[in-house]
Amino acid sequence: MFLINCPYCGERDQSEFSAGGEAHIVRPKQPTELSDDQWAEFLFMRKNIKGIQLERWNHAHGCRKWFNMVRDTSNDKIHAVYKMGEKPPIK
């Protein structure tokens, strides 16, 4: 069970959170302009990185806020958390 540092509430047990998948996949502003391929890219295609991944989490059973996390999927180490709209703290 991870110990996740909610940017708003502080360190909490993983069971209070829900995972939301890869981060920074922005919903296209003009979907109608997109080809089926481009839309599918947004809808389904994922990097599914083994290594440092930026992903979304929600403090579902706490403050209900969504935030981003920098996590190494090869060892589950959480490197950082940051609020929605903020830039990833690491490159």
Partner: protein, 1001 residues
């Protein structure tokens, strides 16, 4: 044969309190403080079980959790019996009953032992190579294989015991109450850290606590005496929690650990009653100190598995700790100094030690000198080549080792004995370290794996970190503890420690014999009967990785998880394959460290607490009315209200008819309700629903359809505009939670610019829905001063109202097609309002109807239920609800997906109505629909999603999805059932009141 095998020099056993117990039906006696194993040994019983494959007689081999052989069935009560318990871990209690496993008819005469003679034909993995002919016979072969496999028996009645959980957060968790653990606990506690110390035994002190030997002294007192005082000193710390009988089961990432505390397993049958049996501690520790010690290794030689062959330090523990002699003529066989401590202890207790057989050329350590002084015979550079005695060892044969240790030379010597102590050195318990994700390194000089890189806030100290000499253990432990906890000084700065140091080392993974390997039985995994030969066979056949060998030979797959066998397996693989141990790597130790009862893992989440039960404010009334309930998610919803002897069908027919003939009342409180406020509320709704919302007037309601981004129908419900920036949205019962978090997600991540706030108010309101031609009359009795005229209060509109001064919201909306109202009132008034409505409706025979009738009524009108008529593959167009897709809106969730090449197809599956040619014939929901009755195989065009007998139309009706259904109205179709084919016709989805007259009736 009642020899006295008890000594009186143990202060851990209370010889004044005698305990009676049964083993294989025979009544025996032991003392308080005994384990089942020590008590059996005291009764001169070594043979306790039969091995897994060859059914060879097996005895007690250890004194702890690594025991591979002495596993028994505990208790014989059908609900309380427990298979595969280790005799070496069971504390003796009054009334204990244990029986041998995996033998028939008895452990002394076991038919299965035939396998022992067939063993030449049953090498490792033989089953992959046979039982293939004839093909159809595998099931028969398998029947016998399954019967002979398995060990103990599962209970066959539900467990009566209770288990529970506790969460625990601490600064420092120390695992293991041996000497290094004790030191760690004291240092941590003295520095005001919130400290927890765990030990799986009922006594702290590890092996040092029974080390009373001239050669081992701390500050001039015997090591065990010194340690006793240290342990006593721990009681003074308030910030130190000590948990005995508590086994660390699993070490997960982020220092999340699971430990099982045994609360009643050691109590007598009466004392156990109504107490929590085991507690699972869920521990989150800032720092973890592993002091889990080391396990003594066996030696691998021919017939090394006979009852009476015991690890040497276990023999020492039995004599020094439990005061039990494992035999009267004991030989010891070793490759290190440990056995000499045992020899000296035995000698002290007056047990004659035949000799110590040592594979080393010599040793000059103090402890060996001490043994020699006592006149104990030592065979240097010798090995045991064979043992005899079927059910109990009675003699051994030894020979001299060649210089390179690969062969034996000169003559055999035979030595009679009733017990053989063996010691192959020590294996640090690195299991927990590896569970935590740490990597190991191999130390060639000691032939051990040690913790290398750690990934969590954690250290290993003492022998689990490779320190085996008393002075190293203490000094290095103190050093690393201080370092780890950032502490400068401790009580232990200048301890004076004397101890015997090992001077010579020698290790031979597989000891040679005078017979060819093929003719010998050098056991590696005692429980699974895998031998050194099996490992070599696996390698010969190309199984090179340890994981392959393990799986192919089942070495280390027993209930002991190979605690004793893994190292030798690795050693033999490395030797045979001529690779370095370090390159070979080790097998992964998976949790749990020792087997963990399901009950403890589940805790109290059983029965009533298996899952949450959600109740509506009106629940009690439904119960009083003997309603049958339906599970909808975690909710309990009234399903139907059977009167006297009514069947479900009859009740539902009556309820549905009454609702249209006069009046029905439904508890709709479970519908999700989301309060929406903010200046962008309308824009927000535009984006989440398929239809347009900006123009919805205040006080009006509108039905909305919500899609997934992939264009498929996700949820639906009515949303009401309460004010300029204020809406209340309703969702499906099952969808409520998901819809809210999905909407929050969009608000927070995609549209942060929107000024909108969402608050769940599902539980704040009870929702009473009244429908039917008389609903208006009834409501006017309940809320006299509310103008219900169609002009003032038309369909799809809302009014605030007061009922006896209590605010409520009344919506005129309908899910049945009848004239109907939904009253939302503060939950705590819900039941009272409900009763008030019933009272007001009595004169109109108002009828409470449940979810089943509700489903029927809406089906008559062709209204969908998301999740029943849709399955995540239906678009609004497929549902023939094109009208609800705003053409004007630029975008909404899922819009783009509706225009993909597959979703724009005209001939997708579409929602239609179905009428059976025989109006009495009610279709089965889920039944498939085809165009040709006879053809096989036949293409399936769709399936029945909802189906009922309509009491109001007096015929069977159904909703279905059918390929190209829109165009097929009037078409004949077939529903092929197992035994018959039902003729149906595709129709419109609306069966009743197409003109919606009843809405305003």
């Amino acid at each position: 044969m009642n020899k006295n095998l008890r000594t009186t020099n143990s202060n851990f056993i209370d010889q004044t309190s005698r305990i009676s117990f049964k083993f294989d039906g025979k009544t025996l006696y032991g003392f308080k403080g005994d384990t089942l194993a020590s008590a059996l040994l005291a009764n001169d019983i070594h043979l306790v079980g039969r091995s897994f494959k060859y059914h060879r007689p097996r005895g007690i081999m250890t004194c702890g959790s690594e025991e591979p052989n002495a596993i028994v069935q505990l208790g014989n009560d059908l609900s309380m019996t427990e298979p595969n318990t280790r005799a070496t871990e069971i504390e003796l209690y009054e009334g204990l009953e244990a029986t041998s496993q995996n033998c028939w008819p008895s452990v002394n005469f076991d038919i299965g032992a035939i396998n022992n003679f067939l063993s030449p034909f049953l090498p490792a993995a033989f089953y992959y190579k046979t039982f293939m002919w004839p093909a159809s016979f595998w099931k028969k072969y398998e029947y016998f294989i399954r019967k002979s496999a398995g060990l103990g028996k599962s209970p066959t009645k539900p467990d009566k015991d209770i288990y529970d959980h506790r969460y625990l957060h601490c600064d420092v968790l120390i695992v293991g109450g041996g000497i290094s653990g004790i030191i760690a606990a004291k240092i941590a506690a003295q520095n005001n850290l919130n400290t927890v110390l765990l030990d799986d035994k009922n006594n702290l002190g590890g092996t040092t606590i029974f080390q009373d030997n001239e050669c081992f002294k701390i500050n001039n007192s015997y090591s065990n005496e010194w340690l006793k005082k240290e342990i006593e000193s721990l009681n003074s710390f308030k910030n130190l929690t000590i948990k005995k009988r508590t086994t660390l089961a699993a070490y997960h990432s982020y220092n999340y650990l699971l430990a099982r505390e045994n609360l009643t397993d050691h109590l007598s049958l009466d004392e156990k009653k109504n107490k929590i049996r085991q507690r699972l501690w869920k521990i989150r520790a800032k720092k973890v100190i592993i002091a889990s010690g080391a396990m003594e290794r066996p030696l691998i030689f021919n017939n090394n598995d006979r009852p009476g062959i015991i690890l040497s330090t276990s023999i020492k523990k039995y004599i020094d700790y439990y005061g039990v002699k494992c035999g009267q003529k004991i030989s010891l066989f070793t490759n290190n100094d440990t056995a000499y401590e045992t020899a000296i202890s035995l000698n002290k207790s007056g047990v004659s030690v035949n000799s110590v057989i040592d594979i080393r050329d010599k040793s000059n350590s103090a402890i060996v000198k001490e043994a020699e002084k006592l006149g104990i015979k030592i065979y240097w550079k010798h090995t045991v080549v064979n043992t005899s005695g079927y059910k109990r060892i009675n003699s051994i044969e030894l020979m001299k080792l060649s210089d390179d240790g690969t062969a034996v030379v000169e003559n055999k010597t035979k030595e009679e004995c009733d017990c053989l102590g063996i010691s192959g050195g020590w294996t640090p318990r690195v299991h927990l370290f590896t569970q935590s994700g740490g990597k190991l390194k191999f130390i060639d000089k000691d032939n051990i794996f040690l913790p290398d890189k750690s990934v969590s806030e954690q250290i290993s100290i003492g022998s689990c970190n490779g320190d085996f000499e008393l002075d190293d253990v203490i000094k290095n432990s103190i050093k690393s503890i201080k370092n780890f906890l950032n502490i400068n000084s401790s009580d232990y700065e200048n301890l004076k420690i004397n101890c015997s140091k090992e001077t010579d080392k020698k290790n031979i993974w597989l000891l040679p014999s005078n017979k060819p390997l093929g003719k010998t039985k050098p056991f590696l995994d005692f429980q699974n009967d895998s031998t050194a030969k099996d490992v070599k066979l696996a390698l010969r056949e190309g199984f090179k990785s340890i994981e392959h060998v393990k799986r192919y030979t089942t070495t280390g797959m027993g209930t002991d998880q190979g605690k004793l066998s893994n190292m030798h397996a690795l050693g033999i693989i490395a030797e045979t394959a001529e690779v370095k141990m370090s390159e070979l790597g080790t097998t992964t130790f998976r949790p749990p460290y020792t087997p963990l009862t399901f009950g403890a893992i589940v805790g109290r989440n059983v029965g009533e607490f298996f899952d949450i039960t959600r109740r509506t404010p009106i629940h009690e009334w439904h119960v009083e009315q003997k309603a049958e309930f339906e599970n909808v998610g975690q909710w309990k919803r009234a399903w139907y209200y059977p009167k006297s002897k009514e069947t479900m069908y009859e009740a539902v027919q009556r309820e549905s008819k009454a609702a249209r003939d006069s009046a029905g009342i439904l508890d709709a409180s479970t519908l999700g309700k989301i309060d929406i406020q903010g200046s962008d509320a309308s824009e927000f709704l535009n984006r989440v629903y398929t239809n347009a919302w900006s123009k919805l007037e205040i006080g009006k309601c509108r039905y909305g359809l919500m899609l997934n981004e992939d264009g498929m129908v996700y949820d639906d419900g009515v949303t009401t505009r309460l004010g300029e920036n204020h809406y209340i949205m309703t969702t499906t019962t099952g969808g409520a939670a998901n819809v809210l978090s999905k909407l929050e997600d969009y608000l927070q991540t995609e549209w942060p610019e929107l000024d909108v706030y969402l608050t769940s108010v599902t539980d704040n309101y009870a929702t009473v829905s009244i429908c039917g031609p008389n609903s208006k009359k009834i409501l006017s009795k309940v809320i006299p001063d509310l103008d219900l005229s169609d002009k003032e209060f038309p369909h799809m509109s809302f009014k605030n109202a007061l009922i006896n001064n209590i605010k409520c919201r009344v919506m005129r909306i309908s899910f049945t097609g009848e004239h109907s109202y939904e009253i939302n009132i503060q939950s705590n008034y819900g039941k009272s309002l409900w009763e008030k409505c019933i009272e007001a409706g009595n004169e109109f025979n108002i009828t409470p109807y449940g979810t089943e009738a509700m489903h029927l009524l809406r089906a008559e009108k062709g209204f969908i239920i998301a999740g029943q008529d849709t399955d995540g593959t239906m678009t609004p167009v497929d549902l023939q609800m094109d009208w609800i897709i705003s053409k004007k809106k630029y975008d909404f969730i899922g819009k783009r997906s509706l225009y993909r090449s597959d979703t724009i197809r005209e001939d997708r599956k579409q929602l239609v109505g179905l009428l059976t040619d025989d109006p009495k014939e009610v279709l089965e929901e889920g039944a498939q629909i085809v165009a040709e009755a006879k053809k096989k195989p036949v293409e399936m065009l769709g399936h029945v999603t909802s189906s009922y007998f309509s009491p109001n139309l007096n015929k069977s009706i159904a909703l279905a999805v059918v390929v190209n259904g829109k165009k097929l109205k009037g078409q004949k179709m077939f529903v092929p059932m197992e035994n018959k084919t039902i003729n149906v016709t595709i129709t419109d989805t609306v069966f009743l009141d197409k003109e919606n007259k009843r809405l305003n009736a």
